[in-house]
C-alpha cells in the first residue's frame, strides 16, 4: 500500500501507473472504473467487497471519502495495485475540508479512458443519483435503499428520481428468489389470484419482490411483516392450490406446491461482493427494475 498525503488526482493517477510499471505490467485489461462514495463507516466494507468483485470484473476502484469536518483542505490517498487481493487497482481518497464539496475534480483524472463508469453509494445516496456531481459521470448508478434510515421511503424516493441506469442492491438481493420463482413457472401454474410476500420489517426487497410478482402475474400482491431474516416466504394462490416457498434460516427454502413432492432449494443470502458482481455484469439500463419501481404503488 502506498500513502500519499496532501496530493492531487493527477498525482494519484501517476502513482497507480508507476506502481503498475514497478510490478512489470504497465497495461492491464481493466473493464471499468467504479467510483464509491462512502463515509468512514461504510468505506472499508464497500471497498473490500469491490476488490472481491474485481476478480470477475477487473476494474479501477476509487473510493471517495468526504471529511468536511477537517480544518485543513487537502487530499490524502491510499493506493493498492494488484497483489493477492486480485487484479484490480484501489485508491481510497480522503477529501478533507472544502475539498469534500469538489469530489468531482478529484475523480476526473482517475477515470480510465473509454471504459464504462459505475457509481456506487453504499450508505446515504443523493435523491436523484444521475444529478449528482459524481453520478453524472456514470452510466450505471448503484444505491442501497436498505442502508437508509427509512428504507421503504428511500425506495419510493428511488422511484421518483429514477433515470435509466439506476439500480439498487435491494433489487439485486432478490434475484435468487426471482430465479426460483421463474423456474417454477416454467411449468404451467395457471392464473395466480393472490400473492403474499413475507419478511422482516423495513426490508425494501419485500415490496420490490411483491411488485414484480404482482405486475408479472397480474394478481393482487401484498407484503406481510415477520421476524425475518430477509425475505422469509412467498405465498401464491393458484387454481390447483397454494404454492409456498418458505425460508426461515436465510439459507435453504422449502417448496410446497400442488402436484409436486415438497423439495428444498438453497436460496442463500449473498454478501456484498456477490451483489456488486451481479450489478457489474450488465451495464445497460435494467428495464425490469424500472417497471418494478413503477408497480410499487400497487402494493398496499
Amino acid at each position: 500500500m502506498i500513502r500519499l498525503e496532501d496530493t492531487s488526482g493527477g498525482a494519484v493517477s501517476a502513482a497507480i501507473a508507476a506502481e503498475r510499471r514497478r510490478m512489470g505490467s504497465p497495461t492491464t485489461g481493466m473493464v471499468l472504473t467504479l467510483l464509491i462514495m462512502a463515509d468512514e463507516d461504510s468505506q472499508s466494507d464497500a471497498t473490500s467487497a469491490a476488490v472481491t468483485a474485481a476478480r470477475q470484473h477487473p476494474m479501477r476502484i476509487v473510493t471517495l471519502v468526504p471529511r468536511p469536518e477537517s480544518t485543513v483542505t487537502r487530499l490524502d490517498a491510499e493506493i493498492q495495485v494488484g497483489g493477492d487481493q486480485g487484479p484490480g487497482e484501489v485508491a481510497v481518497l480522503r477529501l478533507r475540508g472544502q475539498l469534500a464539496e469538489h469530489a468531482n475534480s478529484v475523480a476526473v483524472p482517475l477515470l480510465l479512458p473509454d471504459t464504462p463508469i459505475v457509481a456506487y453509494w453504499p450508505g446515504a445516496s443523493p435523491s436523484v443519483p444521475s444529478d449528482d456531481l459524481i453520478g453524472r459521470h456514470a452510466q450505471r448508478r448503484i444505491t442501497d435503499a436498505a442502508a437508509a434510515a427509512d428504507p421503504i421511503s428511500e425506495l419510493h424516493a428511488r422511484k421518483s428520481g429514477y433515470i435509466p441506469g439506476d439500480t439498487d442492491l435491494a433489487w439485486a438481493r432478490i434475484t435468487p428468489w426471482r430465479s426460483v420463482l421463474a423456474s417454477m413457472f416454467d411449468q404451467n401454474v395457471g392464473q395466480v389470484s393472490a400473492i403474499i410476500v413475507s419478511g422482516e420489517h423495513a426490508n425494501p426487497s419485500l415490496p420490490l419482490l411483491a411488485a414484480w410478482l404482482g405486475a408479472a402475474l397480474g394478481a393482487p400482491s401484498e407484503v406481510r411483516v415477520d421476524d425475518g431474516p430477509g425475505v422469509t416466504s412467498v405465498f401464491l394462490t393458484t387454481p390447483d392450490g397454494n404454492i409456498t416457498i418458505q425460508r426461515s434460516d436465510s439459507r435453504t427454502a422449502t417448496l410446497i406446491r400442488p402436484g409436486f413432492p415438497d423439495s428444498t432449494v438453497a436460496i442463500p443470502r449473498r454478501d456484498l461482493a456477490a451483489l456488486l458482481s451481479e450489478e457489474l455484469r450488465r451495464l445497460d439500463p435494467d428495464d425490469t427494475y424500472a417497471s418494478t419501481l413503477d408497480a410499487l404503488d400497487t402494493i398496499p
Binding site: 492491464t28 476478480r55 430465479s179
Partner: protein, 506 residues
C-alpha cells in the same frame, strides 16, 4: 405456454433447467469423478439446477444410495470449482440414487425404470431424464439396446429423454457411421448430445465473438493478408493411465479429428446468418467440406512417438516403455498435418495442425500469421528482428489473445524495429467466474440447447478428412522418435520448411 415471470428484458435471471434428472453410467471413471460430478455440483451451487434435481448412478457395484452419495461427495470436495456449501450439498444429495447391476442385465434396467419412475413421483423430475454414458464406446450398443427395450429411452408426451456421449465418436468414418446408426436407432438426433468439451470452453466461443463482433479483424481475415494458420494443442503429460484407450488410437484420432478440426472450422468459417445452432453448423460444415488434403501426405505431415527424456526436470518414460503398451506399438503420440481450404477466402493459405504428448509445455492456441508487408521503408538492418505479424487466440492455459507486431526500439540512434506483443488476459482477469466447459455443456443438455454440440454430420466430415491420412500412416511403420520435453519430431520442421514457413514456438 409462455412463462409470465420470464421477460427477455429481465437479464438478471439465469437460465435454470426445468425439472429433470441425470442417470450416470460409468460412475467410477476419471471423467465422471473429476468433471461430470463436480460440474453438476457447481451448477447446483450457482442455482442453475431445478429444486428436485436427481442424480442416479448405475454401475456394477454392490452399493447403496449412501455409498454412491459418498463417492459424489468426495469427487465434489476434491474437484468442484465453486466453494463447498453444506446447503447445496444437502439439496443435491436428497436426489441421489444408485442402481446396482450389470450393463447387460435386463433386470437392472427394470430396476432403473422403477427408480426413475419413483423420482418422478417423489422428486418431481416429471419424466425428464438425461442418460450420460461415461463408459467406453464399445459398451454403447449394449446400454443403448437395453435403454430401448426397457422403454427408458421413450419419453412421455411433454417430457424428454436425452443421451449424452463423450468422444471418441468412432475411430474412422465407418465406425463413426456405425455408432451414429446405433445411437440414432434409439434416440432421435435432436436428443443426442455429443460432448466435445473444447466447444464448451469460453475461449473457444470467444473466437466467434472476436471475429464477428469487431470491425478490425474480419477485413484482413483472408488470403490477401494471412500467410498461414497454425493450430497447436500440446500436452506435457504422457498417456498416463490411458494405455488401454490410447494405444491403437493415437494423437490424430484422439485430438486432431475433433478438437483441432473444430478450432479450424471456427477460425476459418464464414459469418453465420445468425448464431442459431443450425446457422452456425451450416457454416462449419461448409468450411469442413472445403478442406483439401495435400497430394503427397508423406511430405506434408509428420508423426512421432515420444521417447524417454526429462520433462521440466523430471525423468519420464518413453511411450514404448509405458505400462500396457506393446514395445512394437506404432501408435503416434505426435501428429502434424497441412490442410488447405478450397474457397475464395483461404485459397493458398496453409493451415497447419499439430498435437502431441510430452511436449515442452501444456498449451493450446490458434495463431493466424500474417504476410510481411510488400515493402519496408527501413534499412535492412533495422528490421532484422521483425517477424511476421500474428494474431493468437490462446485457448488454454493463460486464456486470452496475443497480438504480435513491430515497434520501434527506444534509444537507438536510427529507427530499429523489433517484435513486441500486446496481451489480453482472459483467464487471469476472469478466473473466478469462468465456468468449466462441463458446467456449460451439462446445463445445455438439460435445457435442450444444442449449439455447442457437434452433430453427426460434423463428426463424419472429420473422419472423411482424416481417414486417408490415417490409412497412409498405417503403412509407414514406426513413427519418428522424439525426446520427451521438447517440441516434437524433426519431421514437423521439414514439413513447414518445404512451404517456406516456420512453426511459431507456442
Amino acid at each position: 405456454m409462455t412463462n409470465p415471470l420470464r421477460d427477455p428484458l429481465d437479464r438478471r435471471l439465469p437460465r435454470v433447467a426445468g425439472p429433470c434428472g441425470v442417470v450416470l453410467f460409468g460412475v467410477t471413471g476419471d471423467l465422471a469423478r473429476k468433471k461430470v460430478m463436480p460440474a453438476i455440483y457447481d451448477l447446483a451451487n450457482r442455482g442453475l439446477l431445478p429444486p428436485g434435481f436427481a442424480l442416479v448412478g448405475f454401475a456394477r457395484r454392490d452399493w447403496e444410495d449412501e455409498d454412491f452419495a459418498q463417492i459424489v461427495h468426495d469427487a465434489v470436495r476434491e474437484h468442484s470449482r465453486t466453494p463447498f456449501s453444506e446447503d447445496t450439498w444437502r439439496q443435491l444429495s436428497e436426489g441421489i440414487r444408485f442402481v446396482s447391476g450389470e450393463l447387460a442385465d435386463p433386470a437392472a434396467y427394470e430396476e432403473l425404470s422403477r427408480v426413475v419412475a419413483d423420482l418422478d413421483l417423489t422428486r418431481g423430475t416429471n419424466g425428464n431424464h438425461a442418460f450420460y454414458l461415461s463408459i467406453p464406446p464399445g459398451l454403447f450398443p449394449v446400454v443403448l439396446e437395453h435403454l430401448k427395450t426397457s422403454g427408458l429411452a421413450t419419453s412421455a408426451p411433454g417430457a424428454w429423454r436425452r443421451v449424452v456421449i463423450e468422444k471418441p465418436f468412432g475411430h474412422d468414418l465407418a465406425s463413426a457411421e456405425e455408432l451414429n446408426q446405433v445411437v440414432g436407432d434409439v434416440f432421435p438426433s435432436g436428443s443426442v448430445f455429443r460432448i466435445d468439451h473444447y466447444l464448451g470452453k469460453e475461449t473457444v466461443q470467444n473466437i466467434l465473438a472476436v471475429r464477428f463482433a469487431n470491425a478490425m479483424y474480419e477485413p484482413i481475415w483472408n488470403s490477401n493478408y494471412v500467410d498461414n494458420v497454425q493450430i497447436t494443442m500440446a500436452e506435457d503429460i504422457g498417456i498416463g493411465g490411458r494405455a488401454g484407450y490410447y494405444d491403437g488410437i493415437g494423437a490424430a484420432r484422439d485430438v486432431m479429428q475433433n478438437h483441432l478440426l473444430q478450432l479450424l472450422a471456427l477460425t476459418a468459417m464464414e459469418e453465420p446468418l445468425s448464431f442459431s445452432p443450425d446457422d452456425v453448423r451450416a457454416e462449419k460444415e461448409k468450411v469442413l467440406r472445403a478442406i483439401r488434403l495435400p497430394k503427397n501426405i508423406d511430405l506434408h505431415s509428420s508423426r512421432g512417438q515420444y521417447t524417454a527424456g526429462w520433462q521440466g526436470g523430471i525423468p519420464v518414460k518413453g511411450y514404448l516403455e509405458e505400462d500396457g503398451i506393446s514395445p512394437e506399438s506404432t501408435t503416434e503420440t505426435f501428429a502434424a498435418l497441412r490442410l488447405d481450404i478450397d474457397n475464395r477466402r483461404w485459397a493458398g493459405v496453409p493451415f497447419y495442425l499439430r498435437t502431441g504428448k510430452r511436449l515442452g509445455r501444456r498449451v493450446t492456441e490458434v495463431a493466424v500469421v500474417f504476410k510481411r508487408v510488400p515493402h519496408l521503408p527501413f534499412e535492412s538492418t533495422a528490421v532484422e528482428e521483425l517477424g511476421n505479424n500474428a494474431f493468437v487466440f490462446r485457448i488454454q492455459p493463460d486464456e486470452g489473445i496475443t497480438v504480435r507486431f513491430g515497434s520501434k526500439v527506444p534509444n537507438t540512434s536510427s529507427i530499429e524495429v523489433r517484435d513486441v506483443t500486446m496481451d489480453f488476459q482472459y483467464g487471469e482477469s476472469f478466473v473466478d467466474s469462468s465456468p468449466e466447459a462441463y458446467e456449460r455443456l451439462i446445463l445445455d443438455v438439460l435445457l435442450g440447447d444444442p449449439p455447442l454440440f457437434p452433430r453427426h454430420e460434423e463428426v463424419e466430415l472429420g473422419w472423411r478428412i482424416l481417414d486417408p491420412v490415417l490409412d497412409r500412416w498405417s503403412e509407414q511403420g514406426q513413427p519418428d522418435q522424439y525426446v520427451s520435453g521438447g517440441w516434437g519430431p524433426h519431421s514437423q520442421y521439414d514439413m513447414v520448411n518445404l512451404d517456406g514457413r516456420v512453426w511459431r514456438r507456442p
